[in-house]
């Protein structure tokens, strides 16, 4: 464990650069900017920034966002509207759904 000097290592690294939504590569700075602008619910942030709309469908970022909204607005997480969670829970190829719908070859 190397003790001491960390200023050099930390140069250029800012908490704002942390990635909140890894699927859609949305940084903390973006999320904070919009929350500060009054967009302080997960649904609004989702529509603006696509957070939670990638392959993992918010499994990684939903809670980080709720905690960030809570710490910036002072509203406890339990009182923040949680946002709507709709099917599908994972991205699915449209061809699969189409094939299932017609029951045939997609026509």
């Amino acid at each position: 464990m190397a003790n001491g000097e960390t200023e050099n290592d930390l140069r250029g690294l800012n908490e704002d650069d942390s990635i909140v939504c890894r699927c859609e590569e949305v940084a903390m700075s973006e999320v904070r900017k919009w929350i500060a602008g009054g967009y302080d619910t997960p649904d609004e942030l989702k529509r603006l920034l696509r957070v939670g709309m990638g392959p993992c469908q918010g499994r990684g970022c939903r809670e980080i966002i709720l905690r960030e909204i809570s710490s910036m607005t002072g509203v406890p997480v339990s009182e923040i509207p949680p946002g709507r969670i709709r099917p599908p829970a994972k991205p699915v190829k449209i061809s699969l759904v189409a094939r299932d719908y017609t029951g045939g070859d997609g026509r």
Binding site: D9, L13, S18, R22, C61, I85, V92, K93, L96
Partner: protein
């Protein structure tokens, strides 16, 4: 138009400790059960647990996790004509208008099921935290590292920084060392160790520092993790730790997407680690066709997950008119009570009291857990 809607009496979503026990119990009662598991194998968290479990004797305490999974699978085998299991099958959606569930197998197959009853046993997902460079390769959830090592036999790297000294952080650290991986340190933001002392003591004896009141400030590296900056919450001092893997073991939260979709009334309960459905003493949610069991109902332990699964499976079968031995409920409720009786379970008791809102928890109010 709609050729392939399968029927099922009881659909169990998730083939972990809770789901498998629900399936076994419902099948023994006579119901036909379909288990859908998104992983390539059944067993959930149990299959990667190589350590001996704590919990209750009735739920195989003292047995290694993956062996517990084997025992439940044996039990299921005794009524295998009643149970169908499909692995690599992701439950994607539940449409409450007509009760249809959509399923994707792998990425190239898709079908619908219309079950009469559903037991949701989807377990938990790992909580993440944000810090600079948290998107570098080498930043993992501790559970993911455990899967890599214990299920696939792949070593994640050479030197790990573990963030979180709860049971998962402690156990995965120990298993990393068993696999020959160095653990540089374990960080814990709280002033005390969250996990059991036996696990912490083993790790301390191996010379790994557990740094209380410390957190990760940033990951370092250009293309992969090369180290981390750690910060003391006591005095703000920062220092560097060399590592090529950063493991986050900062908690789990219930996996609840399908419960939301099913319109179950949900409540944010910090003691149960996230949004969980309101339910009665038989694990039935506010959607009459849906039961919940295990970590999806609140983060707890495998023992209670198994008992909750049994209660849910039994009650779902009974609701379909299968004759069951009512006294089983009493037996299982006693087991839960015993599991939740200690000092360490006081959080769980407080959390459960909150999901009984509107008296919905029926016979088992918070007093019932005392």
């Amino acid at each position: 138009m709609n050729p392939a809607v399968r029927e099922a009496e009881i659909l169990v979503v998730g083939g972990g400790a809770a789901g498998l026990c629900a399936a076994a119990e419902a099948a023994v009662a006579g119901a036909r059960v379909l288990v859908l598991e998104s992983d390539l194998h059944l067993g959930g968290q149990l299959v990667k647990q190589t350590h001996k479990f704590f919990g209750s004797k009735d739920e195989f305490a003292g047995t290694r996790g993956f062996k517990i999974a084997g025992k439940i699978l044996d039990e299921m085998a005794s009524c295998k004509d009643k149970i169908e299991t499909v692995t690599n099958a992701n439950v994607m959606g539940y449409y409450p208008e007509d009760g249809v569930v959509t399923v994707m197998v792998g990425e190239d197959e898709y079908f619908k099921v219309k079950p009469a009853r559903i037991v949701m046993a989807t377990g938990a997902q790992e909580r993440l935290i944000a810090f600079p460079n948290n998107d570098l390769p080498g930043v993992y959830g501790a559970g993911a590292v455990q899967t890599l090592m214990n299920v696939y036999g792949v070593s994640p790297g050479d030197r790990v920084l573990m963030v979180g000294a709860g049971n998962i952080g402690l156990i995965v650290s120990y298993q990393l060392m068993q696999a020959g991986v160095q653990v540089a340190a374990i960080l814990e933001a709280m002033p005390n160790i969250g996990g059991y002392w036996v696990h912490a003591a083993k790790i301390r004896r191996l010379g790994v520092p557990i740094l209380l009141r410390h957190t990760i400030k940033a990951a370092l590296g250009d293309v992969v993790v090369e180290g981390a900056i750690v910060r003391s919450l006591a005095n703000g001092e920062t220092f560097k730790i060399d590592c090529d893997i950063i493991c986050l073991a900062v908690g789990l939260s219930p996996t609840a997407e399908i419960l939301w979709q099913a319109g179950c009334e949900m409540k944010y309960v910090p003691e149960l680690c996230g949004y969980v459905p309101i339910r009665n003493a038989r694990q039935r949610t506010t959607n009459d066709d849906v039961w919940v069991a295990g970590d999806a109902a609140g983060i707890e332990e495998a023992s209670s997950a198994m008992v909750e699964g049994r209660i849910a499976g039994l009650d779902a079968a009974a609701s379909l008119g299968y004759e069951i031995d009512e006294s089983r409920f009493g037996v299982y409720e006693e087991r839960l009570k015993a599991l939740r009786s200690g000092e360490t379970a006081s959080r769980i008791r407080a959390g459960l009291a909150r999901v009984s809102a509107n008296g919905f928890l029926g016979g088992m109010t918070s007093d019932g857990f005392q």
